[in-house]
């Protein structure tokens, strides 16, 4: 109920501001116009294809990043030596903004699907890698020692102690990367003028006649997708790792 009320209030405030006419409506259309345009777009097969193109690149990129970062992160986090050896390299590569790689990615992989996937995978790698390394590295030593006392082998300790205790953090990393990834796909589509996707739709409508209502409707769809993805991951998180919150409450 509160959520509906909040969204309604937000919409009314936006509608009020945009109807004041501080800037011409072709520059900043009314909120109601944008919502109307968004509803139109969601019934438009061509636009839905753009949405699918964006989501496809996002999903493949995120999966790729997960498949790379989780094993590498476990490898790095398990041993103190590898942890200390790799951290300067990771610290140096991580701050390279994915946007800075767009020009390079265009040259190497063109303006289509592969370029988007690689950029998403690059941007999504770091949060997953960090959380995996951190999660595996900071396993409760008492749990590991207890397992050792019970005669568990290193391998068994790995599978039954380190990984389960790191799993919630790894998932949090994937969740953060999911949000970042969506932003990166759309940015890449827009800045590299890709052949399809929400970003290329926004670029197209803004450069062909400057239809600001369509631009903002496209951006709003991207925002809603972001919220949906984040909430979906939140639901999975609560269902799969609910025990983590129980443990926290018991302490």
């Amino acid at each position: 109920m509160r959520i509906v009320l909040g969204i309604a209030a937000f919409f009314l405030i936006l509608e009020f501001i945009t109807s004041l006419g501080l800037v011409p409506a072709i520059y900043l259309p009314r909120a109601s116009t944008i919502v109307q345009r968004m509803v139109e777009l969601l019934g438009d097969v061509k636009f839905l294809k753009h949405v699918l193109a964006t989501l496809g690149a996002w999903a493949v990129g995120l999966t790729l990043a997960t498949l790379i970062s989780v094993p590498v992160g476990i490898l790095i986090g398990t041993s103190e030596l590898t942890y200390r050896m790799t951290s300067p390299v990771v610290e140096f590569m991580r701050p390279i903004p994915s946007a800075a790689l767009i020009p390079l990615a265009i040259l190497l992989w063109g303006q289509g699907f592969p370029m988007k996937v690689i950029l998403v995978a690059y941007a999504a790698t770091w949060p997953i890698l960090f959380n995996t390394v951190y999660g595996v590295h900071d396993v409760d030593p008492i749990a590991v020692q207890t397992a050792r006392c019970f005669g568990l082998k290193q391998r068994a300790i790995h599978w039954r102690i380190s990984l389960p205790s790191a799993a919630p953090l790894i998932f949090t990393g994937i969740r953060i990367s999911a949000s970042i990834g969506l932003i990166v796909v759309i940015a890449a589509e827009l800045l590299a003028s890709a052949d399809s996707g929400i970003g290329s739709y926004i670029l197209f409508v803004s450069s062909h006649g400057g239809h600001m209502d369509s631009v903002l409707a496209g951006a709003a769809v991207a925002g809603i997708l972001g919220v949906l993805i984040n909430s979906a991951f939140g639901v999975i998180d609560r269902n799969a790792f609910g025990w983590r919150y129980l443990g926290g409450a018991a302490q």
Partner: protein, 280 residues
């Protein structure tokens, strides 16, 4: 063992220890750069110039000025300084607005619950998707780029400030009202300090975002900046120049983060100290 021998033994082992930790820290990086150098020279691909070439070109671009300008080249004044200026302007704007708005929203339970879905939605809108709107409203000068940076990087600060100011220890607040502390003092001496660790975590995330948005903002309709230089190099097929820009951004991102960590450590020392005392 007499103190004498302990003293004698120390320098040698300290040197060995120092060397060892130096190799552990930088060994892998050096190996990777060496491997890149070797592979790049062997393959001769124009897309991946060897690091030596990138460094030489970077020195040419940015460090070959006259001594009167500390050897800084024209590129520093044309691109790096304008970029960093906009970055700092946009980021500061995001931090100020984020903390101010966040405190107002966070102190009211009803307001924060009411606004939460809208804020989540606004945060999820990709900043670059709004570039066309910002260009129309603000033109293509620095103002547009600063607003874009601020819009994109305000959310972590805002949401963390809301979270931080909302979850102040009730005991502290009760104590404050028992002592009849006026509202302003309560804000400055209890609420904001208590929220500081969360706020700082948000500011750090927003710094990384601000660097990304700085580049994004310079990839469209711009005439200077590091992002512009990279894109220009791509169009002119000057791949070494492009790599220089990418490496420069990594250096900038790394240094800003390191600098910020230093500041954070200093500002939050009291907090860690207090935590350490109460925990043990």
């Amino acid at each position: 063992m007499s103190p004498q021998t302990a003293l004698q033994g120390k320098p040698a082992s300290a040197v060995v220890e120092g060397l060892r930790s130096f190799f552990v820290r930088f060994g892998l990086g050096a190996c990777l750069i060496g491997l890149w150098q070797y592979l790049a020279m062997r393959a001769g691909s124009i897309f991946f110039p060897p690091p030596s070439e990138i460094v030489t070109r970077a020195v040419e671009l940015w460090l070959s000025g006259p001594p009167s300008r500390l050897f800084l080249g024209d590129g520093v004044f044309q691109d790096i300084i304008p970029s960093l200026g906009r970055l700092l302007a946009g980021w500061s704007l995001a931090v100020i607005v984020g903390i101010a708005l966040g405190t107002v929203i966070g102190r009211s339970r009803r307001l924060s619950e009411l606004l939460d879905p809208s804020l989540q939605f606004l945060r999820a809108i990709p900043g670059p998707a709004l570039v066309p709107v910002f260009i129309l409203l603000l033109g293509t000068e620095s103002a547009m780029r600063i607003v874009l940076i601020a819009f994109g990087s305000v959310w972590p600060v805002l949401l963390n400030t809301i979270e931080g100011t909302r979850t102040v220890d009730p005991l502290q607040l009760d104590t404050a009202s028992a002592f009849k502390l006026p509202g302003r003092a309560r804000l400055w001496h209890i609420i904001l300090p208590a929220a500081m660790p969360k706020i700082f975590a948000g500011i750090r995330v927003s710094l990384a975002l601000a660097v990304i948005l700085m580049v994004v903002s310079e990839l469209v309709a711009s005439t200077n900046g590091i992002g512009y230089r990279i894109q220009n190099a791509q169009i002119m097929f000057l791949l070494t120049d492009m790599w220089c820009g990418i490496v420069l951004l990594a250096v900038i991102g790394y240094s800003l983060n390191a600098l910020f960590l230093k500041v954070e450590n200093r500002v939050l020392t009291w907090h860690r100290g207090a935590r350490g005392r109460t925990m043990t």
